[in-house]
Structures are given as structure tokens and as C-alpha cells.
């Protein structure tokens, strides 16, 4: 077991393993830091959602907590004007490419976006950006769950789980840039893919993109 160190988060002294990522130290100690793409089991963080910014004492620029390793004496603040600005901006960017209408969303009670909005006082609507065009196509081919791409935030949790935990590899990232998406090999429906409907991806999804047909928040 690695060495224990003491770090400070928002003034609270917390014991952590040296090298452990600050995001997990905070979350394990009930200190909220916004995040979407992080998975504790994943050794190398993806760092793609850019929501977990924190302010490190002695460093001018905010740092992502998912890549920040705990070491003795490290002191971080989960909020600062700079952090709040970046989080707000990343949040609005994600929202601009996400189908809203939370009332009809099957995940409205367990949505990570709603939680971030609540915790950080952010609005679930666009203030300065225009909504990007979304292709609303829902893959309902699996028996137990469905995939609504217009609510996908590209956090990649489902992809990693499908490949590394379920070891099925039905889901992957396809395309590049603004057209990047989560999909199957050759874009076949999930039912035609090697998907075994193990459901791990659905449990990993932080938004309403993947949801069980029977167990959604409505039922």
C-alpha cells in the first residue's frame, strides 16, 4: 500500500494515499467536484469532460482534479472565480449539444448534469450559446435498454466499461471532432452488434443517453 499523505481540500485536512487522484479523495469525503468522464477503476484518466477543475495553491491556473495526484501538503480549493468560469463554460458547451426537455427524460432523477447544475447553481438552459443541431435517433433494438444519442455527452464511460469491464467491445468511439460519437462497429444497431445486454453501460451512463426500458426514473 502506498504512503499516506495529508492534503487539504477547501480547508479540510484529509488523509489520502499518495498519488491518489484528488477527484476521488474529494468525492470519497463527500466534497463535490463536478465530473462526468471519471471512473475510479480506470487507471489512466480520460480527462475529456473538463468539468473537474480545482484551484491548487501556488498554481495560477485551475487543474483537473481527475489528473491531480495527492501529495503531502497539497492544498486545493474546489471553487474559485476561475474554476467557476471554466465549469460554467464547459457545462454550457455540453448543454448546447444535449437534448433538453428533462421532464420527459428517463434519467431525470439520476442525471449527473442536473446534479452539477444544482450543486453549482447553474441553469439548465443556454444563456449565450445557440443550441447545436442534434440528430435524434434512438436505438431501441436491445430488449432491455435504449440508446438516445441526442442526450449523449461523450463522456466515454460506457465505452470503457463495455471494452474493459464487460470485455464485450460492442461500443466504441467513431468519427472525429464535432462528429465524434459513441457507436458500434460499422454503425449497426446494438442488437446486431456483439452487445450481450449486460447493462453495465447503462449503469455507467451519467445522462439520459442509455436507459433501461423498464427501470427508468418514471417507473
Amino acid at each position: 500500500m502506498s504512503k499516506k499523505v495529508t492534503i487539504t481540500i477547501d480547508g479540510r485536512e484529509i488523509e489520502a494515499h499518495e498519488g491518489e487522484k484528488v477527484l476521488w479523495v474529494a468525492l470519497d469525503n463527500s466534497i463535490f467536484i463536478p465530473n462526468l468522464c471519471a471512473l475510479k477503476e480506470k487507471e489512466h484518466p480520460s480527462g475529456s469532460c473538463r468539468l473537474c477543475y480545482v484551484q491548487v495553491e501556488g498554481r495560477p491556473e485551475p487543474v483537473t482534479a481527475c489528473t491531480l495526484a495527492a501529495k503531502e501538503g497539497l492544498s486545493v480549493q474546489t471553487r474559485s472565480p476561475q474554476v467557476d468560469r471554466l465549469v460554467k463554460s464547459a457545462f454550457e458547451l455540453l448543454l448546447s449539444n444535449h437534448r433538453l426537455g428533462c421532464g420527459r427524460c428517463p434519467r431525470r432523477k439520476s442525471c449527473a448534469l442536473l446534479k452539477i447544475a444544482r450543486e453549482r447553481g447553474l441553469k439548465m438552459r443556454l444563456s449565450r450559446l445557440s443550441a447545436l443541431e442534434l440528430d435524434v435517433e434512438i436505438d431501441e433494438s436491445p430488449e432491455t435498454f435504449a440508446f438516445d444519442r441526442s442526450r449523449c455527452l461523450l463522456c466515454g464511460r460506457c465505452v470503457w466499461i463495455c471494452q474493459e469491464v464487460a470485455r464485450v467491445g460492442a461500443l466504441g468511439f467513431t468519427n472525429r471532432g464535432i462528429t465524434r460519437r459513441v457507436g458500434t462497429f460499422r454503425e449497426v444497431s446494438l442488437a446486431q452488434s456483439p452487445c450481450t445486454e449486460c447493462g453495465l453501460c447503462v449503469e455507467a451512463c451519467p445522462s439520459g443517453a442509455l436507459y433501461f426500458k423498464e427501470k427508468s426514473d418514471d417507473k
Partner: protein, 637 residues
Amino acid sequence: MTGGKSVQERYRRLKESALLREEDLYRRPVVRVGMATCGIAAGAAPVKEAFTRFIEEKGIDARVVEVGCMGHCYAEPLAIISKPGFPALCYGYLDEDLVERLVEDFLLNDDPCYEFALVALETNDVFPTFSDFPRGVHEQKIVLEHCGFIDPGDIDQYIATGGYGALAGALAGEPAAVLERVKESHLRGRGGAGFPAGLKWEAAVRAGGSEKYVICNADEGDPGAFMDRSILESCPHQVIEGMLLCAYAVGAAQGYLYIRAEYPLAVKRVQLALEQAREKGLLGTAILGTPFNCDLEIFMGSGAFVCGESSALVRSMEGLMGIPATRPPRLAESGFRGRPTVLNNVKTFAYIPPIINRGVDWFRSIGTAENPGTAVFSLVGKVSHTGLVEVPMGTTLRELIEDVGEGVPNDKAFKAAQIGGPSGGCLPEASLDIPIDFDSLQEAGAIMGSGGLVVLDEDDCMVAIARYFLEFTQQESCGKCTFCRLGTKHMLDILTAITEGRGEPEHLEILAQLAGDVKEGSLCNLGKTAPNPILTTLRYFREEYEAHIKEKRCPALMCKDLIVYYIEPSLCSKLCSVCVGSCPTEAIYTRTDGLKAIDQDKCTKCDNCLKTCPPDYNAVIKLSPPELLAEKEGKGS
């Protein structure tokens, strides 16, 4: 080291035979034709063929040799003619007729046709040399020293210049000595960020382990940049020698040159260079008879701009998607196949042999204290003498553009220097006196980048330029992180709206905020630098944005939605109808009085009429905002 003497001895023999071959070659006239991609594009292949044909027809004992790019791309096709008894002379703007004349008059008879010569290569009493021109005064070539003068397809020509001597010298000593020299030289990586090469190497040495890699980043992808391509096409051995020195210093037995597949000639020449180096015992096992083994291979990239980013580059080599990863670890600790890896730019490696050969003091005497050495630029755009230039760090942008590049052509006014490619920025006239180095450029909002420099004049709209570069980064974004994927898209949408006359007053504020957030929040340097074209144009050319938004006017008359074409009746002539024929949509008609006019409903703003209207009239003008047309037509007809 015990092998020291025998290494030097082996090298001495290689060099001796190379020099003998060179001496033999230059016993007769030699024509060196510039055949890098730039030369070939300008028509060097038929020029070379013409030299060969005429020489043969006239039965002259002369050789025609392919060389790379000498840097004077504006004057291509170029050739250097060396004839015993004359200084070597360089001729430009060649075509078949001129070649025939040179062969007849110079090679067959003894008239060097000075009226067609551009410059002499060595000091003489009859014709000026490079140093007699402003460009020659500023230029100092380290990386480009041999480019355009030696045959990249003949390793002996490189060896004859002393090539691979640095490697032989290093192999006679300890690897630590090489590392020490590179560290002391304060050489900063030339890929863009300017990280000290010695520190990077040292980290790879410290990382331990027996398996390490050296990779040369030749994934050059900036629009308007061609330095790395030209170097690989013109003097591949200097890069290979630099990589071998690095491999020796850090203890790597395998290296790769990551060259984009769109550089087929560079790939071909490097491939040939590697084969020749292997044959000479300079690459592979037991290099120069020492226990040092190192092989190099080419890896062809598929042309994704983001693969120039180090972690994305390594992933694409491993067969994964070329997508940047979070740090740590750095490549020096865990890079290719999870092993310590040194990744440097083409130019960085090309500096190593001269540094080892001529020493740290020499290198540090060039450039500035914090930025020793030279800067290599591809100078393009609205500048008279486009080409590949190398000047000491600390040279000002003004010297580079006005002296080396001979200024903006066609009596147009300079507007901006776009430096550093899509990750760089646009600097105005007022910034031209800042010295070129990593730190000063960054302070001004641009970056050194890998060395692209595009000169813009009064006809270039800065909003459209910012939009152009942002469209590039937006398309080249890998899409992994939120800021880059969505931020560049929104910024591009706003810029598009502004250039199309749909700009809103609040757009500037949103653009500035987004640009700042994307710069700070993105995962990799593609995203972190993507907003630079916007930030610099907003900083230095804000009034152009405001004209687009408030007056729907494009001051440079470039944005098509904000201009109309108009034929000024007072300048137009009844006797001419060139514009009518040039119009692809039949938008131009002849009025009852015989003058020409444009049917705006049919006009596609293709610019043909303006280009074809004879200079005697120059009757076609552009108006912005389009509302000016009503005013003109009111009094014009």
C-alpha cells in the same frame, strides 16, 4: 573508450572515399537542379530533363544532379551550374529555352550568361554572392546549411561536407558527453513549444529501463508551413545523424520518423537515406564498428493534424485512434509501447550534429541568450520572395518580412503577419519590431509554432482569416474534450455569422469569453492554442470586427456576403467587353450606351470581371456594404 581510435579511423576512410567521389564529380561541369516538392511543383522536372537532353545532344561531358530546396522558392525552377574556372552560379525562373541557352552558351562555350544568374555561391570578382543581398546579411544557416546544395539521394555528398563526423566523434566518447553538450547548448525544441531538448533527453535517461525509443515528429500540418518537408527532402542525413546522436545519448536502439503520408517525396528520400546509411555501417548493428546498435524506420502518419501532438502521435503509432491523453506520464517516462521515448521535431534533430561538431559556445553565440540558435521559417503569402529562410533568433519580424522577403508586392500595404499557423496569431504593423523568439512571440499573443509565417496585406480580411484558421482547427479537433470539440464549433459558427453579415453586437463579448475558456480549459495544445487567431485579431484588429457587425461592411472587401461588384461607368469603355466574356453566369450586360453593367441577381461574386478588366480602365470595383450600390446607381446611370 577503447574503440575510439578505430571509430575515427573508420569514419576517416568513409570521408576520404566520399571526398574522392566528390572531387571526381566536380572535375567536369555539374548542374544541380532544385528538386524538392516546391521545385517540382514549379516545373523542375522538365527543366532537369531539358538539361540532360541538351547536354547529351551537344555531347558535353557534364553531370545533372538532383538537389533539394535552397530556400529561394519564389525563383523556382532553380539550378546551380558549377563549371571549372567559374564561380558556381545559381539561375532561377528556368524554362526549356533558358536551359538550352545556358547549355549552349555556358557549358559548351564559356559565357556564363550573367544576365540570367541570380547569385554566385562563392566569393569572386565578377558576380555578387548571397551576402551581397539583404537576405544574405540576415540569413545564417545551420539547419538549412546543406539544403539545396547536396544530392539528398547520395550519402557521400553529405559525408563529404563532414556529415556523420559528429556521430563518429560522439561514439568515440561516452553517451553522457552528448547529453551534456545538448543540455549546455540550451537548444529549445523547434516543434513549437520551445521546451529545452536537453532536459527532455535527460528525463528519458533518468527513466531507466533497457528499451527506449527516439521519434522524429515530421507530422507537419500547418497550412502554409513546409520547413520539415523541405529539410527531409533536401538533407535527410542531417536529421538521421541527429536522431542517432540522441539515441546514443539516451540509450535507445530503435527510432522512428513519423512522416505524414502526404509527403511522399520526403518518405522516399528518407527511405533511401536510411538504406544508404545502413550500407555504410552508420545505421543498424555495430555502428561504425562500435557496440552501439540503433535502427531507424519510417512510420507514415495518415494526415490528422492532431497526431502532431505527442501523446496522439504515439497512440496512432500503436494502432490506436490518434487522440491526446492526459499527463502525467510524459513520453520521456512512458511513451511508445509504454517505454521512455524522446520525441523531437525534425529541426531539433537537425541542430544536433552542428552543435556536437562546432560546440556549445559557437551555438550559443548565435541568437539570443534565452533562445540560442536560429529560427527556420517558411515565408509565404503576400511577400515578394517567398521561400524557406533561416535567421538567428532575435531577428525582428520587420527584417524578416522587409529585408529577407523583400516586402509586400504590388504596392499593397502590409496588414499582418500570421505566425505559428492555426495555433498562432496575427500580429499587426506595430508588432513588427519585436524580436523573433519563443518568449517574445508568446507575449504578443502568437507562438513560434513550428515556423510558418504568412504575410497578409490590405486585401485580407482579418475576420475571414481568423475564421479560416478556426475552420481548420475545428475540423482537425479530435473531438475528445468538451472545450475543443464544442468550443471551436461555437466560435466558428459565430465567426461565420459575422463574415456573412449576421453578426450581433454581443458576439464579440461571447467570442472573447469562449476563446479564453477554450484556451485555458482544453485538454491538449491543439485546443489550448486554437483560439489564438481569434484572440490576436480581436486584440489588434477589433475595428474590422466592429465594421462587419455594426455597418455590415468588410473593410478589406473580401467577405462575399458584404460586398457587391460594380462597374464604374466613368471608367468603363464602350470599346471593351472583356468582362462580359469572363463572366460565368452571364451577369454582365451591355447597356444602351454601350457601357457594361452587372445584374446583381445573377452575379456570384467570382471576381473574374475585376481580374480581367484591363488596367487601362480598372472599371470594376467592389463596394461594401452592399447598400452603397443604390447610391452609386442613383447617380451613375
